[in-house]
């Protein structure tokens, strides 16, 4: 990642390039460094702590006074960002990815009105002080916005579960029985969809597009993994797969039920969820019953076979 952010940082004038090549011997894999120039929008990482909104573009330029004139090739003396010496350049400017992240987060606010579309992204870019054309950085079907949202929700869920686990470790809370834990985790995750519930079916259909399936599947499985991890699942055997499959099934079906649930506070959905989790619990005990029954049956058959052999006189040793 550090070499990537090096690409996106500030650039060095062509005159300095030979000098840098001498200095940075190990960096031949870098593409040619670009001309030194103030980036219009990418903020210095230090500015992010101040949380200044990028209201007026000219105010955020690092070297020129907001008098309107932007010299094109201004050497960046005090900015050590692009030294090419590895490690140092990543800190100073935010990368394009971080900017895209910010735009998508800002765009979520406009989703209830515009849906998961490039329009919502354009509105989000506007609030950051960027031109609406910045939405062209993303695909026009809005899939990146949805994937961003899902990944954010998963992180939030992770944090929540971690906090709960800490409380349990500190002894401030009781450890929940497994079915209650699963139910609460899935409910917490699904509740994050509530502000966007009207447009969520659109999002689901976009996530099912072949192009998006790898990423969306990845996010789904990592979320399920997370839940089982915090539930205390230590298994490394075949059960690992069955547990994930079961919980994935529970999550997906509950999500679909939530889509067309019109009861107050989604109580139908939570009842459905409770029933499914109970089913899953019962199923696991049924499974072990089936297994022991199966073993008993097999033993019975073996016994019958030996008896028949005895009767037929085949077991005698001479």
């Amino acid at each position: 990642m550090w070499c990537l952010s090096g690409l996106f940082g500030s650039r060095v004038g062509p005159a300095l390039y030979p000098l840098l090549r001498v200095v940075s011997k190990g960096n031949q894999q870098y593409p040619p460094l670009r001309a030194l120039q103030a980036s219009a929008v990418l903020r210095r990482a230090s500015d992010e702590h101040k949380k200044e909104p990028l209201a007026s573009s000219s105010q955020q330029h690092f070297d020129s006074p907001p008098a309107g004139h932007q010299p094109e090739q201004k050497p960046q003396g005090p900015h050590p960002s692009y030294t090419g010496q590895g490690g140092q350049e990543s800190e100073d400017y935010e990368s394009e990815e971080q900017l895209q992240h910010r735009i998508l987060t800002a765009a979520l606010e406009f989703v209830p009105e515009h849906g998961w579309t490039a329009e919502a992204i354009a509105e989000g870019a506007k609030t950051l002080g960027l031109s609406v054309a910045a939405a062209g950085m993303f695909r026009s079907d809005g899939s990146e916005l949805i994937l961003h949202f899902v990944s954010e929700c998963n992180s939030k869920l992770s944090e929540l579960l971690q906090k709960e686990q800490k409380l349990v470790q500190l002894g401030e809370a009781e450890k929940k029985p497994i079915d209650e834990f699963l139910r609460d985790a899935v409910e917490a995750r699904l509740r994050m969809l509530i502000p966007y519930i009207e447009k969520w079916p659109q999002a689901l259909s976009i996530l099912l597009l072949p192009r998006n399936i790898p990423s969306s599947l990845n996010l789904l499985t990592s979320m399920i993994d997370d839940i089982w991890h915090y539930a205390g699942d230590q298994s490394t055997d075949f059960n690992w797969y069955t547990r994930r499959a079961v919980l994935t099934g529970i999550y997906n079906t509950t999500e679909l039920v939530m889509m067309q649930d019109s009861s107050p506070g989604f109580e139908d959905t939570w009842r459905f969820l409770g029933n499914r989790v109970a089913d899953a619990m019962a199923m696991s005990s049924t499974a072990s019953q089936v297994q022991s029954t199966g073993e008993a049956v097999v033993q019975g058959l073996m016994g019958a076979a030996v008896t028949i052999k005895n009767l037929a006189g085949l077991n005698q040793r001479r």
């Binding site: 219009a40 573009s57 309107g68 394009e96 329009e119 870019a125 031109s131 609406v132 950085m137």
Partner: protein, 277 residues
């Protein structure tokens, strides 16, 4: 400096190119159709689709001469705006007819959603043809025609959302200056789009393309526009123009981020895109 395959000074080049377009202005569209067999329309459509402008976008179309990109932009924005308004109306179907009428007065339902396109060209003849075309086709609102040089634009900093230059950057004498000007006049977050003939890497196709370019196009130029030399210049200038990767580096040098290109028709034409971040 090169003018096609000849070597000239910068000043001479600018003059010669001005004359080329002065001569071809009236037959520009006809020649485009016959040379590219109408495919240039598809290329321009793809450019505007890639732009995906939303209503309220301010577009600067440089070297936009006869207005092809500008008209497509207006059509696109108009249809997006229609859909937006339909969705709004669906939400507000409980408005009374008086309220709807009042909102017309307030210009809430304007058909372009405040989008504007400024067509800038260095050549007066091309702009004239463009204005006539606009009148003829019925485009009136949202269009402005400005005479200007891509190397030194008569606009202030941080003004435009999108800057396009379709089949024009090849004729600019100092491409780096044009790119710097593009960076200057774009708003932060603004997008640079360049549609231009580029290099074909496939050897077989490249041979066929060369054959077509040098044997057929100047002849068409003579027959249709009565001007062999200008079209000879055109095909030569395509060969002299930097290939995709080189142009990408030049665009990055001007300060653009997320610079990328898309080949159309195996590299006969390429769309380069960059953002002012």
């Amino acid at each position: 400096m090169h003018f096609g395959f000849q070597t000239v000074t910068e000043e001479e080049r600018r003059e010669k190119i001005y004359q080329v377009f002065e001569n071809v202005a009236k037959k520009y569209d006809v020649m485009n159709d016959s040379m590219t067999l109408g495919i240039h329309r598809v290329w321009k459509d793809i450019l505007v689709h890639k732009m995906n402008p939303c209503p309220g976008t301010l577009l600067l179309d440089v070297a936009g001469g006869t207005g092809d990109i500008a008209f497509r932009f207006i059509n696109y924005v108009r249809s997006v705006r229609q859909r937006q308004l339909q969705r709004k109306l669906k939400h507000h179907q409980n408005l009374s007819w008086q309220e709807i009428f009042e909102s017309y007065q307030k210009d809430e339902f304007n058909s372009l959603g405040d989008s504007q396109v400024v067509v800038c060209d260095i050549n007066r003849e091309m702009l004239k043809v463009g204005k006539q075309k606009a009148e003829h086709l019925g485009y009136s609102e949202g269009l402005s025609w400005v005479l200007g040089n891509a190397e030194e634009l008569p606009f202030d900093d941080d003004k435009f959302d999108v800057y396009t230059i379709a089949f024009g950057i090849r004729n600019v004498t100092r491409i780096d200056l044009a790119l710097q000007e593009a960076y200057r006049v774009l708003k932060p977050g603004g997008r640079f789009l360049c549609l231009e003939f580029s290099h074909v890497s496939n050897p077989l196709l490249s041979r066929l393309y060369d054959l077509y370019s040098f044997q057929v196009i100047p002849v068409l130029g003579e027959v249709i526009a009565g001007d062999w030399r200008s079209y000879q210049y055109l095909v030569e200038s395509i060969r002299q123009f930097p290939p995709q990767e080189e142009l990408k580096v030049m665009i990055e040098d001007a300060g653009f981020f997320k610079v990328d290109y898309e080949n159309l028709n195996f590299g006969i034409v390429a769309i380069h895109s960059g953002f002012k971040l």
